[in-house]
Homo-oligomer: 432 residues x 2
């Protein structure tokens, strides 16, 4: 690549699978990537584009000719085409759409009208739908001859005259049945129907729960409008998990490993700023007791222990609550039992650590009463940690806010403030 | 259920899908669950068992007759049977295996010999394999008549005389080809082969990368021994994400929402104990400067801000590093660039927050020099946060330790210790 030897590069790239080429492009430096894309030009397969990371994809699309992209999109399955288009800005979308055949363009424009992250964006428009009175032989002949079939499919859908889905037949069952068998005799009537406006996280949950390979998507009139397949869902599950991990780690905006310093610093700033405010709040609490600390410096030495233990215990409870809410293992049916358990765990571990740290503090500063104060503050803070670790995520969830976004800042603020207040407050009473 | 009306309960349960019954059982109280399982008895479908959560599953299996379970397992696909058996203890496994037909038992015992979390445990033994010289008609006829086919399949595998896979044909392609077409003419030779000892996390990564629906599993002699399907992979991806979230939140052992107080308290204790030691270490650092704090109590009030900001910035960097390592977005090719960026982000945000908090501290305590010391300590700690936020997970990954397990304790210990040391140390020099 450095030598600009286009032929050799093309020969090396030619046998690679699209996902591997995409991975290579993702990992390259920007200038290397630019050189490679320019060398490959129209030989770059459209499948590579859909496998690229978002930031990199935008960059590569900007390097390509809109006409070439439009042609590639027209040949793709509609779900992949939407996936590529939806992240471009309005102008970029228009530039590409305007060069596409009218019917493909209309279909894509309709798909882009569905809300972001909805089943309508994920679904593939082409599918195989047959009436229940066809037999297996007729169905196979139809599939052999029809033009407008999806590139890949695993199930055929059975529809009534109003195009409402009434059942599904997996391909292996079609294949294993004799030609005169009626479709209605081998179809599953137990189907999972997905409304076109369902959030993709909910769609993923249905696929996971019922072990689906594909599922029918219906519009507000219960008519079949598309199909969602599991390969898209695998991506959704992985992306949603990354999002939860990111949010819980204090990364509020989406980030890619290749982002610039300026963008990354700005993205991280907002969360750190919120944390600065809460840290100042904790300092104000400490400031209330400056006279007490002046009286006994040991308090300043020991006070971070109480806050830190509370923060960690609260984070444990919160982590379990946030993840269990996301996977629906925690719901109204068992919420009360969960709260009771977490509270008891807080009390039990609070007492154990109170004994441990009380002994350490008492021996360290040769003051038994200091140990008692430390231990008492520890119990208070561990219980507060448990309570806020449950209530904060559940309250956010109830308000339809993703608990992963904000739980940790509320919980650690609580445990910091209460930790310092309980320890220094008890010490002030004792020293008076 | 409370009235013990078995018939009515059975009528309510009968039309439900296995996954829904499993969800109901998961959410019930232990005594309710016991009553329901006893009421349903052998009417409880085996599919329900494989959808239950681990702890609940063990409980339900203990309530059922080993003979009934053995019979259910014999009828299941081998991957589901292994999934149910692998979590039982040795004795429970033997009890059930001994009541199974000899050939099914031998197959399951062989599957259980593969390492836990390997492709060998995930795979389904039954599959459709045909030689390349068959034509489509012959293949369809074979599938219509063969007995030992899997319950569900989406691809057929093409093998050479030594049973080594040489290609795959998706069912839709078989279906869309005319009967005289040779299999070798429609097969994909670009296949993803999975070694039987591959870790399931790696298997999931391959499925995600190449958008697979199923993939051939081969033994050490490259012979086809099974097939992994995407429905199992969806579960793996979700479980691995839960594991990462759990570990990063300080939940070291697997937990279920239904676990007892004693078990949960014990599980959480170990992590909190490690945190206690690191918190004491931070206190020892503060203790080194007790004379300095005695001189100026404002230091005790402000010092948690420096530690907390460093902890949060370090957690941000660490979260991105851990997740990017897990998804392979961060690798040797771009590690250096990533480190340079994180370091620069640390410097930039360090300077910004130094100015902010320096001003706040200076105004609050009417002491410009205190603000300078605070700001300088902030820059030092933000840079240390960035460096440890990258190096700790990358070092753990290099040592083949899951970075999600231990990164956060190392990183926050670093930022606590350095935060207190830098701030109090600089203050001590200034006050001298």
């Amino acid at each position: 690549l450095d030598r600009g030897d286009g032929d050799q590069v093309r020969n090396l790239i030619a046998p690679m699978r699209p996902a591997d080429i995409a991975e290579l492009l993702d990992l390259m430096r920007t200038d290397e990537r630019r050189a490679l894309v320019e060398m490959l030009g129209p030989e770059l397969k459209p499948e590579v584009l859909s496998e690229l990371e978002e930031g990199v994809r935008d960059e590569v699309i900007a390097l390509l000719d809109p006409g070439d992209i439009a042609q590639a999109l027209a040949e793709m399955d509609s779900d992949d085409a939407v996936y590529l288009l939806e992240d471009l800005d309005q102008q970029g979308q228009q530039e590409i759409l305007s060069q596409m055949p009218a019917d493909e363009r209309a279909a894509l424009e309709r798909a882009l009208e569905y809300p972001e992250d909805s089943a309508g964006r994920l679904m593939q428009r082409h599918l195989v739908a047959v009436p229940p009175f066809w037999d297996v032989g007729h169905t196979i002949d139809y599939m052999r001859e029809a033009e407008d079939l999806p590139d890949e499919f695993y199930e055929i859908f059975v529809v009534d005259p109003a195009y409402r889905p009434i059942g599904t037949v997996p391909l292996y069952r079609v294949m294993r049945s004799k030609r005169p068998t009626k479709i209605s005799d081998i179809m599953n009537t137990e189907q999972t129907l997905i409304r076109v406006d369902t959030d993709r996280e909910e769609v993923a949950r249905l696929f996971e729960k019922y072990d689906l390979i594909s599922a029918a998507v219906i519009d507000e009139n219960d008519r079949l409008v598309g199909v969602t397949t599991v390969d898209d869902i695998v991506e959704v599950i992985s992306e949603e998990a990354t999002e939860d991990i990111r949010l819980m780690g204090g990364i509020v905006n989406e980030e890619a490993v290749g982002d610039s310093v300026a963008l990354t610093a700005r993205n991280r700033f907002s969360w750190l700023f919120v944390n600065l405010l809460t840290a100042i709040l904790a300092s104000v609490v400490i400031g209330l007791f400056d006279a007490t600390i002046e009286q006994m410096v040991a308090l300043a030495v020991l006070m971070p222990i109480v806050a830190s233990m509370g923060g960690n215990a609260g984070t444990q409870t919160m982590t379990v609550a946030v993840r269990s809410l996301a996977t629906r293992e925690l719901g109204p049916l068992n919420a009360l039992r969960f709260m009771r358990r977490e509270l008891m765990v807080g009390v039990v571990n609070g007492i154990l650590f109170a004994l441990l740290i009380g002994a350490v503090g008492g021996v360290w500063f040769q003051d038994a009463m200091l140990g008692v104060v430390l231990g008492a503050a520890m119990i208070v803070n561990m219980v507060v940690a448990a309570v806020s670790g449950i209530l904060v995520p559940m309250a956010l969830d109830r308000m339809n806010i993703d608990p992963a976004v904000a739980s940790s800042v509320f919980v650690t603020t609580m445990t910091d403030v209460v930790g310092f207040f309980a320890f220094l407050g008890l010490a002030a009473i004792w020293l008076m």
